[in-house]
């Protein structure tokens, strides 16, 4: 086939070591447009909500008064997320890796773990971690405050173990998505099995898993709302508390409260999703994308 000469002028083009920039002008424009539309939509939504309040669809002053209290809950929610995600990832990584091993006992135990924690609704795990923790510890721990503190955190732990099971599946699929030819190539270069895993398999698995992990992290954020049922005063917990006093102010209070809470949650998950997307772009390697389903 008549491919045109690569060097028509006779002088070879300089060898570029970096791939062409992803930040082409069109891409930057598209991104700016997206951000612009997002900001505009948010402002419009905010304006609309305030307008509804001023025309008396709901009690605007009451809604505004809620914000400081809910903000405290928001901070606690973020804190809990910051505890759950690392624990979940650490456990999930090892369980997921164990699921790719040969030993049927190790694999069986890891499968039981994954099946159990994936099959149970997180709210059931949290509620029973609290209840069973209470029963198990109430005779050994005399201090009621310490006891309560411990069982509250048991609920958080239950959540971490739950997300760990999902992350295990993501890690496993990521590892299995790296073709065995990659390990063979690495080992034929003389890399040890550990080096092969660390230098070749995991970096590829990580890139493939990143979008799924991001989704799972935003599930964790939403899951923390379930901790309110055992008495955590995070975002949803505070909302539950506010309802009792609010309903006396006017009957629509619960709806206003939950709407406001929804906005807070949306803000966190949206921020997280956007950061994951940025991360994804900065680690992007052509030919290594996850199937987006």
């Amino acid at each position: 086939m008549a491919a045109p000469s690569i060097h028509p002028g006779g002088t070879p083009a300089p060898v570029t070591m970096r791939p062409a920039s992803r930040w082409t002008r069109a891409a930057v424009l598209a991104r700016a447009l997206r951000v612009g539309i997002g900001v505009a939509a948010t402002l419009a939504g905010y304006g609309f909500i305030v307008w509804l309040g001023t025309v008396g669809v709901y009690n605007l002053a009451y809604a505004k008064g809620l914000v400081p209290a809910l903000w405290q809950g928001f901070v606690l929610s973020v804190l809990i997320v910051a505890v759950v995600i690392p624990i979940g990832f650490a456990v999930g990584f090892f369980v997921g890796w164990a699921r790719t091993l040969r030993n049927p006992i190790v694999r069986g135990l890891a499968s039981v773990y994954v099946d159990f924690f994936r099959s149970m609704p997180p709210i059931v795990l949290i509620a029973f971690a609290f209840l069973l923790g209470l029963i198990a510890l109430r005779t050994t721990i005399a201090d009621p405050f310490l006891l309560h503190w411990i069982i509250l955190w048991l609920g958080v732990l239950a959540l971490a173990f739950h997300t760990a099971a999902y992350q295990a599946e993501i890690v496993r699929a990521g590892i299995l998505s790296v073709p065995s030819s990659q390990s063979e190539a690495a080992q034929s270069l003389g890399l040890t099995r550990g080096q092969t895993m660390l230098r070749v398999v995991l970096p590829q698995a990580f890139r493939v898993s990143l979008p799924a992990l991001g989704n799972e992290f935003s599930s964790v954020i939403k899951d923390t709302s379930l901790l309110s049922v055992i008495g955590w005063l995070e975002l949803s917990g505070l909302a539950l508390v506010q309802i009792y006093s609010g309903i006396l102010v006017y009957p629509l209070a619960p709806v206003v409260i939950w709407l406001e809470v929804a906005v807070f949650y949306f803000a966190i998950t949206f921020a997280l999703n956007s950061s994951v997307r940025v991360l994804e772009n900065s680690f992007k390697v052509p030919g290594l994308e996850a199937a987006r389903l």
Binding site: P104, D115, I123, V124, L132, A173, S225, V255
Partner: protein, 290 residues
């Protein structure tokens, strides 16, 4: 040879089942919980389990009907953000179509983003209080507010997740397939129903099954608006009324494990057996849903 046998999924599943059953009886014999009690009271959970399953399935089916148009709208964004290359030439859109496309796409996108971006707990309380506020003494077909609020909330929720699954399925149908359909003279509509839909649905069989399971698990939250489902039964009846919290946990675990593990295994098996050669992708597991 031996290694490949050890690696086969059947061995893993067998080991898993054996470990769980052993664990169940061993812990019972060791006195962690009472085996006779569990065996005696397990049948009382069948009614609540049916309630859970019915509500889950009903909302899932209604949700599928609503998610289909949303998924289609999301799969084919209006021009400027079109991400699907290779789609053959389209005639220039007429003005009404253009004017309609953006609001529809905006609505679908916002719907999916809001549903997936907020916890179900918040959604269900919102719906519940709104329903209570609008119809304080709701009673329809002998069913009261917890059922209807639960059904509404669950349907609204699963619609968002299914729409996203379907979008993914439709978008992963290859552009060449669409081009081939267009080349034999099929219209866009015919191409969708004869090619994109059947292929896309096959690609999302497993994600949709996972979505049903998620929906089932999510329905446990309805326990807190006093809908008498599995978790409500185990929590209020077994754990508090009969004062058997440990047994309550073991019993509800049995229900969820048996239903969810069996279903996902069976669907995986059937999907693998009935898969059309060459159609199907290795996909990442979806996130869990709340």
């Amino acid at each position: 040879m031996g290694a490949t046998v050890l690696r086969s999924p059947a061995v893993g599943i067998g080991a898993g089942v054996a470990i769980s059953v052993l664990l169940f009886f061993a812990l019972g014999e060791l006195g962690f919980y009472s085996l006779p009690f569990i065996l005696q009271y397990l049948p009382t959970g069948v009614g609540p389990a049916e309630a859970s399953l019915e509500l889950t399935t009903l909302s899932f089916l209604i949700g599928f009907g609503l998610a289909l148009p949303l998924g289609v709208i999301r799969a084919y964004p209006p021009r400027i953000v079109r991400k699907h290359p290779n789609v053959p030439h389209r005639a220039a859109d007429s003005l009404p179509k253009k004017l309609l496309a953006w609001p529809l796409y905006g609505f679908a996108t916002a719907y999916v983003a809001v549903i997936r971006g907020t916890p179900f707990l918040v959604q269900v309380f919102l719906v519940y209080y709104a329903v209570i506020f609008a119809y304080p003494r709701l009673m329809l077909f002998g069913l009261s507010a917890p059922f209807w609020a639960g059904l509404l909330a669950l349907t609204i929720n699963t619609t968002g997740y299914q729409a996203e699954a379907l979008r993914g399925g439709f978008q992963s149908v290859e552009g060449s397939q669409i081009e081939a359909a267009r080349a034999i003279g099929m219209t866009k509509f015919q191409t969708f129903w004869s090619v994109t839909f059947p292929q896309g649905i096959r690609l999302v069989t497993l994600p949709l099954t996972n979505e049903w399971i998620s929906n089932f698990k999510t329905s446990a939250i309805l326990s807190y608006i006093a809908f008498a489902e599995l978790f409500f039964w185990s929590r209020t009846y077994i754990a508090y009324q009969l004062a058997r919290p440990i047994e309550a946990f073991v019993m509800i675990a049995i229900f969820y494990l048996v239903i969810n593990v069996t279903l996902s295994r069976v669907v995986c098996y059937v999907e693998a057996r009935r898969r059309i050669p060459g159609l199907g992708t290795q996909i990442m597991p979806g996130p869990h849903r709340v």
